[in-house]
Symmetry: C2
Subunit: 455 residues, 2 copies
């Protein structure tokens, strides 16, 4: 399955990055307490007594889409630099402390945020806060540190992107789908720009964005909210408020009037596949229930074996080995909606694409049935319950929502809002947004036989 | 014929903008004198006694590719503002003076430069210099002036781009062809960004770029170079040198590894057409004769009725009503190479595209014949002679070359460099750059019959 939209880059630390799925924001309301320190730091506490661990996450409201022109990759680069030494601690000391406590840690960068977290037994929470608060302002950014890390990141790019045809295609699809907004630029950065990033870029980025008033602290676990507040005041509270950062205004998209394709042929590809993407509203910016309707549209078209695409192409016709649809809306400015399929056996990718398009056109023409709509709501709600079943998953989604301008109501209210959506609303978003004359289709194809023979 | 590459926007004044063609830089050496004033203004004088007019052009080394992030269109917007009032002259006074002298004037903005010119009888040269020097630093930029002109420009965009399917397609092709470099952004600006441009943006742009040390004055006509220098010192020489602007570093292109298409369907289109474009080196940045070879490759493939595409598709097979190839290299950072064709009668655009691709592959496989190469050199050289035959054409190309970092040697030496190119060099650039797996093909198509009926 192609993922042509910008996605999160996880820092190569010990634990796998928690999966953020669209189905999480609807968890039912549990206790949640929020505070704001005098220096502007927002604190969100999610009490959770089921496991003897606490998740401590610090989210900065800065991601690759905030980078200066020509400095792509600096947000992710900076995430790496945060694991270097500070004026108070040598490089590696924080990580060793997490390990010694039996904990784990990670960090990740996306288009709209950069987050750092540790999962440790509760008695170590204050130590985590001390370390995390320390590196918010006290990093030692020498040329040597920056130069060494640049090599690491260039290697990371080679491995993750340049050696991976699907990732290369994903980058070029984003650069085609978004014509002006910085979601078009890869989170990891373009190779030729990463190569030029230097200490001055890092310092400018640090001083502008790594401030308590640009961050959200999420603490989930067996903790008392007032105690969390007290610990946060004793640690993060010591940091002075930074300069005002102002609203996050990025270049916006023009109206698009063309149908585009992006084709990658590579001899490492054995099975052809395709995906078609559209720019749609972001979840928290959409109006009139459009985001909730897009969630259900994705579920009805391509969510699981009961969805239209899977039932028709995978089960009945057996022309596809996989097929799906997804709405990625948890971004600050825009969402994307995609449909995809991988043909089975001798089926051509062109024929497959026509079959998917026929299903898209069918839902535009007639909308979903009432039965389908209710089934999709049930599946979607169940997905939320599962998502809520993990401490890190809950903390992650909450941090993400705060980082893109939302709050706990957006998190807890999603299920109810989804339940109110009508079949007509689902049909309306399909008709409004899934216009093939404003789409980008990506093809990941094997090399033709004769070319392959030459290699 | 589609023109998917960024092109010059001419200001809507009296005279048509002179055509800049690739064939101009090779004019044979004539007298040319250059000077630099203490304030950094470069002066190029091209004596020309054939007509009783002098062409006075002032070129600023700033264009749309220099615009700040999210401020697309400010360079062109500013070109409009330069026709407003200054502290010394009311709006319209300059234009009236030109008209009263029996002259004409115009201005244009491109990705890399903005230029203003007047063509007047020689005795009015000093007056032109006085006015032009005055508006370099003394514009009155009120909210009212800026707000009024914004409406004019929005209307200009609607007329020139949004109401023109070919122009809309051209914008989206550029936004697809260039994945990172600002040549991807339309010179006129994206509608939603023009709407936001304001007085502060205009002032910041003016103060940064409209300085004598960022400009080239070209004077062509029946003038004495020393007299031009004296007049320039008396007018432009009074302006203080501006702050250093630094090198023009724009975000560069990543390696591209996909074949892309951009399709525009519109019911105003009756004849389908297509063009395929590649990013190639800029004329003055190319090495080892590659730019000269690209000029000849365009000539051999698609320059006139003797070119391969026209001979085969238009004359012999009669499948195309037109076919061509072009190299646009007179830009600061990158050039583009394009092939295009319009099918004739019932021929499909897909079949047409295959025929053009076959010709591209044939020249990659076997290169041009010696006879073809010599004929192309003759045609190309003749083109240069014709281009040199116009005072404004010569002044224009010289100003352009200076604005992208070149000099008189680049102008006069081109013919000789083209003459030295071998068939192997032409084949080599075709093989190196015309890779369909790194191309963008644009289709301008009629709406399918059933959709048309609905409109």
């Amino acid at each position: 399955m192609l993922v042509p939209v910008p996605t999160t880059i996880s820092h190569a630390q010990e634990t796998p990055q928690p999966q953020i799925t669209q189905s999480q924001p609807g968890a039912e309301r549990t206790e949640v307490e929020t505070f704001t320190l005098e220096n502007g730091l927002t604190i969100v506490v999610l009490p959770d007594k089921r496991i003897p661990f606490v998740t401590h996450m610090l989210w900065y409201k800065v991601g690759s889409a905030d980078e200066p022109k020509g400095k792509s990759g600096i947000a992710h680069f900076f995430e790496h630099l945060m694991f270097k030494g500070t004026t108070n601690h040598k490089a590696g000391e924080f990580s060793q402390t997490v390990s010694a406590a039996g904990g784990s840690e990670n960090a990740f960068t996306s288009t709209d945020y950069t987050a750092y977290y540790q999962i440790v037994p509760p008695q170590h929470l204050k130590t985590m806060m001390e370390f995390e608060a320390d590196r918010m302002r006290n990093l030692v950014l020498s040329d040597e540190v920056v130069d060494t890390e640049r090599s690491v990141i260039l290697e990371e790019r080679r491995m993750r992107v340049d050696n991976n045809p699907s990732a290369v295609l994903g980058e070029e699809v984003s650069a085609t789908l978004f014509q002006n907004h910085p979601y078009r630029i890869p989170i990891i950065g373009w190779m030729q720009e990463i190569e030029q990033l230097n200490r001055e870029d890092a310092i400018a980025f640090y001083n502008r964005y790594y401030e308590p008033n640009n961050a959200t602290l999420v603490v989930a676990g067996d903790v008392d909210p007032q105690e969390v507040l007290k610990l946060a005041e004793e640690t993060y509270g010591k940091i002075a408020k930074g300069p005002e950062i102002g609203p996050r205004l990025r270049p916006s998209e023009p109206q698009q009037d063309t149908r585009r394709t992006v084709t990658m042929r590579d001899d490492r590809i054995t099975t052809p596949s395709f995906s078609t993407s559209w720019i749609v509203p972001a979840a928290l910016k959409a109006e009139n229930g459009e985001a909730e309707a897009l969630d259900l549209l994705a579920e009805i078209l391509g969510g699981g074996t009961l969805s239209r695409l899977q039932k028709k192409l995978v089960v009945e016709d057996q022309t596809a080995s996989s097929a799906g649809a997804s709405y990625d809306g948890l971004n600050l400015d825009y969402g994307t909606f995609s449909v995809n399929a991988t043909p089975r056996g001798e089926e051509s990718v062109e024929a497959m694409e026509k079959q998917v398009q026929a299903e898209v056109e069918r839902i535009i023409e007639s909308g979903p049935t009432q039965e389908e709509l209710e089934a999709a709501k049930t599946r979607f709600t169940r997905g939320m319950v599962f998502a809520r079943d993990s401490q890190i998953g809950m903390a992650n989604t909450m941090g993400l929502i705060y980082s893109i301008g939302g709050n706990a109501d957006d998190f807890f209210g999603w299920t109810d809002r989804v339940k109110k959506i009508t079949a007509a609303q689902v049909q309306a978003v399909a008709r409004k947004y899934l216009d093939y004359d404003r789409s980008v289709t990506a093809y990941l194809l094997p090399k033709p036989a004769e070319e392959k023979a030459q290699n």
